[in-house]
Symmetry: C3
Subunit: 534 residues, 3 copies
């Protein structure tokens, strides 16, 4: 059957027979040459570039792009690889869509005068992540190497793995991920969308005051260099994976890592103008579009059904996928409800932005343990995540870390919590949630003591240390080279005009102060509370 | 292969070998204990809670969460279960995304001063539905019991089924859904997203005047108690399923049920201030954001490709899925076009909100018959649905039921119509659309007389009666306990400030009246027609 | 297992046993008849319509809707067909969602006074496409016929194919697409969403001045008649497919075809009022909502993972799907980055609308070659696409073709480029990217000379010629019959009031001029550059 797959749009006559168009084709065959010559300045400039990229990525291409062509009759092995590939690609597509979720969430939580800037950042960041991860990130993260990074195939997705799907006879260079029985291109795509997620977390925390070019360069450095190092340590055959540190879908590898980079960015940039008063009390700077922010939250929730269940990277008998979808959803639900009631009791009103961040907190927290805990444990993990996020928003405001969208409270704090939760709630290798006896030791509440908890704590802190150091170096280097913050004047007018020369909502009358307007001018419309992430 | 699925992120060294981090781990192993003690007030309060939830859901967890681990070689049986699970989970994910569709649709159709409130309702409703359906709804609906509700496993997804996927040797407690060959967690997830849909239908009809807390409580009651009863009667082995009542994907079970609850809510709350004049004529209260409303419609259309084809709960040879995708899409198309032209001829203009509601009407109507009717019949069912929804909007306005988004016209009226359409257009067991001779009798237009039509009519009215009675009890109980409607003052200012202390669109200048503004002040910009659902 | 698929919601008692409800059913059985009689004017008008549609589509229905029912035990052949069908339907669903992408993109890029009109167009266009393609488009495109269109089964998806999935013993009428091993309904659904895409491309180019009814009629003509002709020539067994012209997923068949139709529409309508000054210089007319435009771009990017990988119409061993997802994503990334930097260097700022159009340009360009080129070639194809789209926007402004959203620059220019890129970068039948030796000859940069390039050029120009002629006829016929452009007065006030009697954003204060407002009144907020597609 695979014979047919690439035959797409076949014809009833053989290729050689091209009656009818052959005259036209011959006639036009001469024209392109003339065209090329007439356009030669541009074209001839392109040719070296074409040659370069083709050359650099050619070895890679031969190995990576080889669809195997077998007999027409489908075998169960071929069906298994096809089914697993379908799942990995579709799960990757769901995770890809989280870019839209982050984009809408972060834009909605910020002010309209900076909307174009945030949209631009969140749109281009996945394009940049693709380039950086294809160029070097993937190779550092997954190719064989030392305990900290891969060295066997650093560039352009080169080399081969030795997984069942490709059936390469020769030795592969991606030992740590050879267990997944899908083509290398599928593994790369799935890991790429994860890397892109880490970068997009940073966008929100540094919003409304960072220069566009600095964010672009930091994203390239994060996805190309920093993220792959901690990723290699945990998932790529490095130090932490070998030490028994377990993170199923990335509470640490993706979320805490993105969160640490975001925290350093927000700290080094300093707070937005007008965020904190002389006495240290914060002012609410309300987001401009709660509709798209809520949409963003629901798109992220959707994407998490790819993020967590997809991290199986195979379908098996479906039980793992179904179980993980269940734990993921339960944690999100309890996180959202817990944050709503926590905010309600602390702030007096059920704050929508807290409901949103509570759902995301539950999702981030369940990401590491989703495969190894029961539905009941998922409820508790999500519930605690929802409480933590509300407290964390207040905490960061007290230490004057200005994170306009609450990214550190969601991704860093709950990335840590979720990683630790493995050490508390994992059922352990004797439990029914494990395949083949692999996975974390039993957690504290399942009679395993604090061993796994300790490993989780040590592992996530080590990752945090590495990312904090690297991020700090990156941010300060960018600051020294070109400055990372826009001018105060540009910040007041808005980055949309300053950085991009356009505004997001032409034709609508805005209020310069960003304060509530129209009928509301006499009543307070901002909660004015320290915990408001807007 | 299933052996690999849970192995995720394996390492090249065995677990026991944790060189490198072991020193760090040991060092940190002590710290958590100290941390716990220092945080003890919070932590120690958590421990009983943890114990309680783990205890309550522990029996459930053992049974439900058991991924079977078999040999490495894939068998066709294992592949079948994996493929079916993939389909059910992905279809469930599409239906989950309908929460975003409802959220954008309903928010866009209401006024901006209530946007945060509607967004909050539509976001938290799925979280609440998850909790209620996990706690009790699923057990009432699908566990074995009497003709009206399940009694064998009422709480926390406990017990086991005896479907091929889990291969439980002992007797299961979910006989009515044991035909579906996927893990219990997948069945639960798919049914949960349906239950959430019923609750979200209510949100639109009661918008712009209901207290937030009442909507939350009503949702818990609906998803936890009322929806499972009629659901058990039709799909869970109860009275109506046994009587030959057929509803493939829920025109009655989900949409009419949600619609009846919505109707009672809208009636008991009364119309919004300013909706009706002294003489009974309605005023248009235009929605504030047709862009997100249209987006919502398209997200719902997308989700319906999970809703209807996914209700196969298995892939088979794919023909049922393909056929249902076809009938679903054709009904939506004819519904949208029919409503557009009906509105055009009645109101003089092609009203966008009618196109939107017409598409949804076609989708709701085809939901019950989608598997058992031809593409031609689907076109007629959708076309009539599109006409019905325009007439229904006018009808409800005439009887002064103020439904801001037209939820009852879409979901109740067309839920009824779609259920009856089974009795008119079903091809019958001799037709080629049936597997194994199961399904409704031939409908009126296929020579089956009015027998099936009568059963459909009786069944849907019985469900309507039960839901109407239960909803009325719930609404009046809430009204007696705490009042269900916000004050007139809060309603005029908007529920966003009153209920949530924030506004949706900070930084934009609004018009207090909600009337057209700016350049339009001298011309009428509302259709001012009775049929406008805004 | 397929036996179970349609059994949905079975009961524990046999159908014949309908205790409990039988009394109610009998009682109600009489009522419908009375109801029908009382409603007779409407009902009796419906009955001939019902009869007509059922009659016309009945032959079709018998053949198309036949789910085969086989033994319970799954075979690998049955699993293969199920898996492939799942993939084709899910890929089609992703492409369907591109309607939301185009809707948000085009609406966001236009002014708020025309938002309802563009939303209405982009919502109803898929409904109309469904009707037109079901009625005649599919039959013209894929049924057996002459080199230009199908004649064997022109209407209502009638007849049968002879693909492995349906296993029809008798001769099918869809030879050109019989290679795809999925049910006919799945093939139709997948091709329908492609046809809908072509129609929606036109919407953007003719926005802000076309009459609603004319757009509707043109869409019916395009999807029902013009698109199927060029489609038959390339994919349906016609002239160009037989001549060795290759277009994997539709750079020409969908995008250039839609682009030519759009170009003719924009040219014949003429520019919007105020777009060009007396001296020919263009004025920027900024879009009103960059948030939804960016969301639209990301939804389109998402949908392309169905568009390109889905065009395999089968899973095989997954390698083709994974490879195509990779090339598609890389081209999008390089297109977005290239357009951003091109705009930055030419216009002085990184224009968000150029990033958006650059991503789309990369996606359109990789559509034809995605299966036959390496990842490195995909990067170059995307990069050139991103540069081309910025230059094209400027070019069309210089020749005073007013395309408000840049649809021709994206879809026509890059549809051409992508088609030609096959002739430059295809690895050729000896390459590892080919199954079974089928596909284009090696391209220029792979030692194949200019043969394939010539065929590609000739083929795409022939398609362009046919579509240009047909579109011109359609547009002028509509113009002659009823006029295609709204009055100048209506255009100034906005089409929302004129065509639809409603506005998109009630309750917000707008600025009549569409110029920047509020705090920005003293500073220039539009880029004011020729290249700005807003």
């Amino acid at each position: 059957m695979s014979r047919l797959v690439l035959r797409k749009r076949n014809r009833r006559q053989p290729l050689i027979d091209r009656r009818g168009l052959s005259a036209i084709a011959k006639m036009l065959l001469e024209r392109p040459r003339a065209t090329i010559n007439s356009l030669s300045p541009t074209w001839q400039a392109c040719i070296p570039l074409v040659a370069l990229i083709l050359l650099v990525s050619s070895t890679a291409a031969v190995a990576q792009d080889a669809p195997t062509v077998e007999s027409l009759a489908a075998t169960t092995d071929e069906l298994r690889v096809g089914l697993d590939t379908l799942w990995v690609v579709l799960a990757g597509v769901l995770v890809f869509f989280m870019n839209a979720g982050f984009g809408m969430l972060e834009t909605g939580f910020c002010r309209q005068k900076n909307a174009v800037n945030i949209l631009s950042k969140n749109l281009i960041v996945f394009a940049l992540s693709t380039i950086a991860y294809w160029f070097i990130g993937w190779g550092l993260m997954f190719s064989d190497g030392n305990p900290f990074f891969g060295t066997a195939a650093p560039f352009f997705l080169s080399g081969a793995d030795n997984s069942p799907a490709t059936g390469d006879a020769y030795e592969g260079v991606y030992s740590a991920i050879s267990w997944a029985g899908v083509p290398l291109a599928a593994k790369f795509f799935f890991q790429l969308v994860f890397a892109g997620t880490a970068a997009t977390i940073v966008s929100g925390a540094v919003a409304e005051r960072i220069k566009f070019i600095d964010f672009m360069l930091f994203s390239l450095l994060l996805v190309g260099l920093a993220y792959p190092i901690t990723g290699h340590m945990v998932w790529g055959g490095g130090l932490l994976g070998n030490a028994g540190f377990w993170d199923f879908a990335g509470s640490t590898v993706v979320h805490a890592v993105g969160g640490w980079a975001a925290l350093m960015g927000a700290a080094i940039l300093g707070p937005r103008l007008g965020k904190y008063n002389e006495d240290g009390t914060p002012n609410a700077l309300p987001g401009h579009n709660m509709s798209i922010a809520t949409l963003g939250c629901l798109i992220l929730w959707l994407g998490w059904f790819g993020f967590n269940p997809g991290s199986t990277m195979g379908v098996g008998d479906g039980s793992a996928i179904a179980h993980i979808a269940l734990t993921t959803n339960i944690a999100a639900a309890f996180g959202g409800v817990a944050a709503t009631f926590t905010a309600w009791s602390l702030l007096g009103k059920p704050d929508l932005s807290m409901t949103i961040n509570g759902i995301l907190a539950g999702l981030v927290a369940i990401t590491a343990p989703c495969a190894w805990v029961t539905a009941g444990a998922a409820a508790i993990i999500g519930l605690i995540g929802g409480i933590l996020v509300v407290l964390a928003v207040g905490f960061f405001d007290r230490i004057r870390i200005d994170d306009p969208v609450g990214a550190t409270s969601v991704h860093l704090v709950n990335g840590l919590w979720g990683t630790l939760a493995v050490g508390l709630f994992a059922k352990g290798p004797d439990g029914t949630l494990y395949g083949d006896g692999e996975g974390p030791l039993a957690g504290l509440f399942y009679g395993g003591g604090l061993t796994q908890f300790g490993i989780q704590l040590g592992g996530t802190l080590l990752c945090g240390l590495i990312i904090t150091v690297l991020s700090t170096i990156f941010w300060y280097a960018l600051k020294a080279l070109m400055g990372i913050r826009v001018t105060a004047e540009e910040e007041l007018v808005g980055l949309d005009i300053g950085e991009h020369g356009m505004e997001a909502y032409a034709g609508f009358v805005k209020d310069a102060t960003g304060a509530p307007s129209g009928v509301y001018t006499t009543s307070s419309t901002s909660t004015g509370i320290a915990g408001n992430p807007n």
